[in-house]
Symmetry: C3
Subunit: 500 residues, 3 copies
Amino acid sequence: MKNVLFALIPGIFVFYAGSGGAVDIPVSEATAECLECHASIHPGIVQDWQTSRHAKITTKQALAVDGLARKVSSKTVPDDLQGSTVGCAECHTLRPDAHAGTFEHNGHDIHVAVSPNDCATCHSIETEQYSKNIMSRAYDNLDANKLYHKLQLSINGRKEFKNGKIHFEPADAATKAETCYYCHGTRLKVVGTEIRDTELAGELEFPIIEGWPNQGVGRINLDGSLGSCAACHTRHAFSIEMARKPHTCKECHVGPDVPAFKVYEASKHGNIYSAMNKSWNFTAVPWTIGRDFTAPTCAVCHVSLLVNTDEEVVSERTHQMNNRLPWRIFGLVYAHPHPRSPDTSIIRNKDGQPLPTSFDGEFAAEYLIDEKEMDARRKNMQAACLNCHATSWVKGQWQRFENTIRQSNAEILTATNIMRDIWQKGLADLNANPFDEFIEKKWTDTWQFYANTIRFASAMGCGGDYGVYADGRYQLTRTLLEMNDWRVLQEKVAAKSNPD
Amino acid sequence: MKNVLFALIPGIFVFYAGSGGAVDIPVSEATAECLECHASIHPGIVQDWQTSRHAKITTKQALAVDGLARKVSSKTVPDDLQGSTVGCAECHTLRPDAHAGTFEHNGHDIHVAVSPNDCATCHSIETEQYSKNIMSRAYDNLDANKLYHKLQLSINGRKEFKNGKIHFEPADAATKAETCYYCHGTRLKVVGTEIRDTELAGELEFPIIEGWPNQGVGRINLDGSLGSCAACHTRHAFSIEMARKPHTCKECHVGPDVPAFKVYEASKHGNIYSAMNKSWNFTAVPWTIGRDFTAPTCAVCHVSLLVNTDEEVVSERTHQMNNRLPWRIFGLVYAHPHPRSPDTSIIRNKDGQPLPTSFDGEFAAEYLIDEKEMDARRKNMQAACLNCHATSWVKGQWQRFENTIRQSNAEILTATNIMRDIWQKGLADLNANPFDEFIEKKWTDTWQFYANTIRFASAMGCGGDYGVYADGRYQLTRTLLEMNDWRVLQEKVAAKSNPD
Amino acid sequence: MKNVLFALIPGIFVFYAGSGGAVDIPVSEATAECLECHASIHPGIVQDWQTSRHAKITTKQALAVDGLARKVSSKTVPDDLQGSTVGCAECHTLRPDAHAGTFEHNGHDIHVAVSPNDCATCHSIETEQYSKNIMSRAYDNLDANKLYHKLQLSINGRKEFKNGKIHFEPADAATKAETCYYCHGTRLKVVGTEIRDTELAGELEFPIIEGWPNQGVGRINLDGSLGSCAACHTRHAFSIEMARKPHTCKECHVGPDVPAFKVYEASKHGNIYSAMNKSWNFTAVPWTIGRDFTAPTCAVCHVSLLVNTDEEVVSERTHQMNNRLPWRIFGLVYAHPHPRSPDTSIIRNKDGQPLPTSFDGEFAAEYLIDEKEMDARRKNMQAACLNCHATSWVKGQWQRFENTIRQSNAEILTATNIMRDIWQKGLADLNANPFDEFIEKKWTDTWQFYANTIRFASAMGCGGDYGVYADGRYQLTRTLLEMNDWRVLQEKVAAKSNPD
């Protein structure tokens, strides 16, 4: 082991070479022990951590920061954590009794998967806010919804061709973990232990955790908490720069179902980001509009604490993330006001289906935010817009956007009307599973891909190719025509088959 | 208002902290008044402007630049504009009588939408060149073309399912503004005024402008001029760096209809740009091949003033943009020599349709540039290529490119031959609208998406995935096969339905 | 010619302004002569070269580097090459007799296309390794495979609509050069000479080379050698930074058939790269995990010499590139263990077809690496993973990945079972060409696009949109349903047509 960065003296202070000269930042004795081996065997993790703010100041110093620049939202932090940096041991030995699967490892009680409830030790407000974020419930919002189970089965299930039909069998756990639940989060579960012969310490026992690895936004952790802060705050640098750049969001918001990143990157805002971000300041807290950046990234509109050049707060930091959003533009089946509760599995539409809208487009209003809350959220969002755009601009943009929500919902009603006709005539089977036939997939395309794309394009600058030719109105129209073309032909052929 | 950047003294000089030390750059008294409020309420706009060249030197200083480095192309600029930077007032109070909707605002006659004819005050040659650019006519080239109206209706129109058919109703103005006309530009029109209660100045009256906001390339302005320089020269930094980077062009050239950016980014040139551009000089004027950059961006080939390392001019700056382009590779329905006039709505093919080619592929030659002009443009373009590539390389590349134009046109003729057979047999209706049935959309796919992609791939390096598997020849072939498969099946079913 | 960088004195030393002050680096007399003209007429090439390591040190200096930092792998280099930089003449006059088309040019015997066997003069080990890379055989692996000829014909062939059918004619040479062979490489062939009137030297004779330009990975060179180092080491900067960034690989690995770049860019690794790479060190040799970079690029996993922070070798440099890969996840028709030989045209499956798997999914095992070799390659790859991830993480990831290989192969068997039923019933024709009908293209979509995408998504982080909605399981399922929907309808219509 030739790594010389860590000259370990029981005591315990470890030399850290920060930018602008060397400073001594104390790491805890426990963390120093971790580093003794892991600096060598996991240099990627350790080096990453060394670039983090966690490695550069003590918790006490972080607590001493006052005002908008403060990053630790908890009023107090246990004394024994204050004297050192936030190192390996500070997180991975925290609350050992709370976590299933905590294991003894060279004299320390370790848990592998650090959870939001661990992070809450210092970042309590963010954890609390995040628990109100739909994303925190992403596991059960999908897994506890019987209709979505049918959707999943019809996509990720194993398909076999038997007797002229395609049969669907449920996907195995490994497939589940890398499809929907990769982003939604898996359920972690300790299913045993194993002994591994390690390079530096011989035989050691480790827990076997089902659903691991996973950093999904709604991961069910071994302490029962929900989510993974590392989904966005990538371990182990926990770089605010990274969380503020749009690439982080892209990990889950890139496909045709939620083409947020693709639309952003082709928008004027994305253009400015791509061309000019190298000279922006991505680490300043608070984040000053115009000075630190000149166009929004995802975080600007949805998360970050923003101030203007007069140092007045423009937008409060939020980890609820939808509290600047009146509308949920992801169609289920139609765009709709945001759900009241982050637990969307409780929603029932007028037909008793677990959906925020009925198949004919009616909102499940009692489960959704009301006009007043929508207004408040619209204003929250526009507060940021208005720092770079005049009122008439922002107003015009929002009029178009909300018009597009209505229009795209109307188009999806047209698609559903065709589909209903097909179901009623027995050309497809609604009841068994509304998503598992070819023509049903075409219907799904309209609301899961094209209407969503149109709305995202509208939201992020109101236009461009994503609203028309890149999975937009062109493809939506073509699919409507295809659905009806299929319907007519099937009817004709059926009529010939059953001449009466 | 705590903003201290602007210590406003009637006089009027405002401190500007430029790079390399502080210098005093005079802003006009009028602009200083604007800044007094807007620095606070629109810090994004003001900060952006402060990074611009407009904020860093006076017009007089700009006029004093000699030779190729000169950015102001007008020989003279009115005296009263020369003494200050180009600030808010210089543009937004210019030519007040020329603009409909000019309004009194704290003692100044303001217009919201600055137009190319405003910019022409200093940049007259670019404005003149741009007026010869097809893009400047993008509004009427679309809106005054009856056939394109049918195309628009069949994409952006509202669709309803009635009596077993899909009916199209014209899109509303808001939808129009965020679909085709988002890029093409809207027609601005003052439709009234409104009084708004402003934060800093109480009740104020503002014009209501239909079609606003919009920065489309062919916007019809309130002074009757055409276009928006801000489409590429993003307000309010007007950064040449941004205009020279490909992200700006991507805003309108990303969809499958014009996949210029996607093809570029996957080409060798795009690879070099992505990997190495951080060390390039994007602000040098003139722009030196090899020294300032080592691979072309969009601007290099189509717009910028280029010199070699001997400081000899390789390519003249042009804002006509197609004067280095012999071919228009965007199929309407076929690729064709560039139109002579930027007003393409005047074109008629041999069948009287407002298209540069007929459905059977014949060029509407009298409206298109001739061989001699094509040769001149080919040489214009190749002049840049030859600085990094030997003659044999450039020749080989162009032979392939022009071969691909011919071949892809031949494939589109095949697609059209199938379509004509379908029309002739009454399986689809040509006359009502050649674009509004499922099978017609398939035909449209071939020439609007796949042939275009193939040609762009060929143009930018002659090859790669975009020529084959990424909306290229694979998809073109699959669609031809699908069209014929559909045709055969429909004929069979029709025959059964009408046995005679 | 005003270029002052090269003050040419027969002798010969040329001033080179390196970073950190001026140093005199000797260029050879021959190269100095080249530069005399080409610095002016090809400034892009010359400037690029000037930034290269080739221009900054002599071969002797490069040979003097010891240990892991050494870049010249040949033990010795001919004496006459040691005293100067590697300039124009060093490469383009090397081994003149070996190259067809060598021509006299101002007193020097020049060849246009520098080949791997030229590069081997200094980089012998890399050249040797590359010859074991499947890519080096990319030309004949495609061209000498009769089944792939049918695939090519059915994509790139010229299509005509005659007598109600689509006829395929072989593509011309120019089309071939810009489709498959753009990436696979063309066969270079001297077909004559031409005299050109040059700007600086009057009339000169040059060879005419068929297949030029091309930088494909399996190019057949005029000295008979295979490949082009410039495919990745872009001429004439030969920047290791560029080769290590993922944009280089994107040039050929971007389409839906091999969506490596798209998947990477949306993965956690790609996110870290996109957000943070500006502070990484892309030129260090060896390349230190955690210190020089904090997430892998393509080169990290597949090519580069990696060390940990203890300066221990983690991964040996390889230009074979597949020797860290147990599986070839590109389906032909199914994913399979990597071929033993880089020459894949020799492979025969159990049915005698030139494919590594049979249509029913059986591996052509004798031509593929065995379990032991697969284990060794798996370990080679995991060695890098384990520097940033614990054993349980890496194990979990690989279990999912190899599960997905099995599952996706099973889905392709389902697709093929439907297709076989279609062939057996005479609804499509297997024998003439299994790829040239509409329904066959749908089948091709499943294994050439969707299964590949699913596997790439699994390989690079196990999940996300590319595994589901972005050409993943959703599209795979939809296509299976479409194939069967088509089958059922065709059977019904055929039954009506032939009532018995």
